[in-house]
């Protein structure tokens, strides 16, 4: 076969790999969320579908697949059908730049993180389409809220990423992870592999930036305390009120995939992606994926834990937090990190 066809097949195969990962990961997270929520509330989740409810995620997916996905009569059919797939595409595209191991990365482009921020705004378009197309007052409320929320939280994410890029000097997540390779002391969260003095100076700012990035990513994914677009108690189900069956499953899958993207990116930026915390010990191609996914799962557990503890913010408080709290602190961090890097390195 001629090389172009061959490389085409390889790239298709390579890009299909994360899709398989997403499906497996979604089932695991569904189970994890169900169990953690239950035990936080002093109850046990499903115990009958398989041992301790292990088959329940399959049952959920099966139920959603065979359910009739109705389209409201006065809905804007084309947009209504397209919306969930746009949301999923927006999320799935981000998988291209996540470095699972030092050998495997979707596409080793040099604009990695820049591409990520660009692509994640596709999710907003998808939600807006879904909210508008289902011709339901509650959905329009949910959609408009999510548009305002996503846009105003992309800026803190971009700024936090900018700080990391400033420290590492490259936009490509693979380079950033290589920069942090070699044990826990090299993680950017603790100042990166820089001389001791700069590390100590950088430490408070990188910790603060990480905290802000995690909060902003919570809003990016519409998770409590920022889950206004689908606020059950106010907007019935927000933008996906009219969705059911397969389309609703697609929204659901996109939300879980987005959770992983956000956690993986935070891990790759701050906690040394696939590099093992013990330096040389337990590091290598297979271990790399284990470390990345393991660290990401810790953050996913954190998101689930937060979801079942905190109440929900109101729209104007949401805006207040983003514009008047996260961003000022990030500008301070940006300025400080820049100053430290110029003076000491």
């Amino acid at each position: 076969m001629n090389p172009t066809l061959e490389s085409l097949i390889i790239t298709v195969l390579l890009s299909a790999l994360p899709l398989v990962f997403i499906l497996v990961y979604a089932l695991v997270t569904l189970y994890l969320e169900m169990k953690v929520a239950a035990h936080i509330q002093d109850r046990v989740a499903y115990m009958r579908t398989g041992w301790h409810g292990v088959l329940q995620p399959f049952a959920d997916i099966l139920k959603l697949l065979q359910k009739e996905d109705t389209i409201p009569a006065a809905a804007d059919r084309f947009l209504f059908i397209l919306a969930p797939y746009i949301v999923f595409v927006g999320t799935y595209a981000a998988f291209a730049i996540i470095p699972f191991t030092d050998a495997y990365i979707g596409s080793n482009i040099h604009l990695g993180v820049f591409f990520l921020i660009g692509v994640s705004s596709l999710v907003v378009i998808g939600i807006l389409m879904g909210g508008w197309a289902s011709n339901n007052k509650w959905s329009i409320f949910g959609a408009i809220r999510s548009a305002a929320q996503m846009i105003s939280y992309e800026i803190p994410t971009a700024l936090a990423v900018l700080i990391v890029v400033m420290i590492t000097g490259s936009l490509n997540l693979q380079e950033i992870t290589k920069f942090q390779d070699g044990g826990i002391q090299n993680w950017i969260l603790f100042g990166g592999p820089l001389p001791l003095l700069t590390k100590l100076l950088l430490l408070p700012f990188t910790l603060l930036t990480f905290l802000i990035l995690f909060t902003a990513s919570l809003a990016e994914v519409n998770r409590t305390p920022f889950d206004l677009p689908e606020a059950e108690s106010e907007l019935v189900q927000g933008f996906n009120t009219e969705y059911s069956g397969m389309r609703f499953a697609m929204f659901y899958l996109a939300e879980y995939a987005n959770m992983f993207v956000v956690s993986a990116v935070a891990v790759a930026l701050f906690l040394g992606g696939w590099s093992s915390p013990f330096g040389e010990f337990m590091s290598g191609p297979v271990w790399g994926a284990f470390w990345l996914i393991g660290k990401a799962m810790v953050f996913i557990f954190l998101q689930i834990w937060i979801r079942w503890t905190l109440p929900r913010l109101r729209v104007d408080q949401l805006m207040y937090t983003s514009w008047k709290v996260l961003m000022p602190f990030l500008f301070v961090c940006l300025f400080a990190v820049g100053l430290i890097l110029v003076l000491t390195v």
Binding site: I40, D42, V44, W305, I306, W308, L310
Partner: protein, 191 residues
């Protein structure tokens, strides 16, 4: 200056209270579950539990007290007077039974489980058991028929009653005719 203080105060408060909340929920991760797996593990009902009604029809003397006491009128009772020659026996509480009870229906779907029918019953034959799993597919199955008299017995009791009434009517007619035939004794002297 106060605005800056409240600004930072709010941020600190948020982080602190969020942390406190998270600590509590994390503590509850290790608290054993309080829920029961219902069909396998059932909650023990206390002995005064008020759920499904049960009527011990042998002790029922057909006095209709429970039907009167029921706020939703879900108990319907028919009785047939028994003729003197039939001996219906005595209830466990020593009441002489004088009425046949061909129909004693409780529409448990209408019952509001208030228990007002249990108190006035002289022979305590109507009690509330602690059975709470009695759902049906057809609503008519929820009409419990407690009377055990067969069609034959009911027919026989009716005919006996009719016969007894005719005899009584005939006897009364006879005595009335006899009284009319005799001259009336002179009225007692007024004081």
């Amino acid at each position: 200056m106060k605005a800056v203080a409240t600004y930072f105060g709010n941020i600190f408060n948020s982080l602190y209270t969020v942390a406190v909340g998270m600590k509590i929920t994390f503590k509850h991760l290790f608290v054993p579950a309080v829920t029961l797996q219902y069909p396998d593990v059932k909650l023990k009902m206390p002995e005064r539990a008020r759920n499904r009604l049960y009527v011990n029809i042998d002790d029922c003397i057909g006095c209709d007290q429970c039907a009167l006491a029921c706020p939703v009128d879900c108990i319907s009772i028919d009785t047939i007077k028994s003729t003197p020659d039939q001996d219906l026996g005595v209830t466990s509480t020593g009441h002489k039974k004088r009425l046949h009870v061909p129909k004693f229906d409780i529409d448990i779907a209408k019952c509001c489980y208030c228990g007002l029918c249990v108190y006035p019953c002289p022979t305590e034959c109507i009690v509330m058991t602690d059975v709470y799993e009695f759902s049906e597919f057809d609503r008519h199955n929820l009409i419990y028929k407690f009377s055990r008299m067969t069609e034959g017995e009911i027919g026989e009791a009716k005919t006996k009653l009719k016969k007894a009434e005719e005899e009584a009517a005939a006897k009364k007619a006879a005595t009335a005719a006899a009284a009319a035939a005799q001259p009336k004794p002179e009225p007692p002297k007024t004081p």
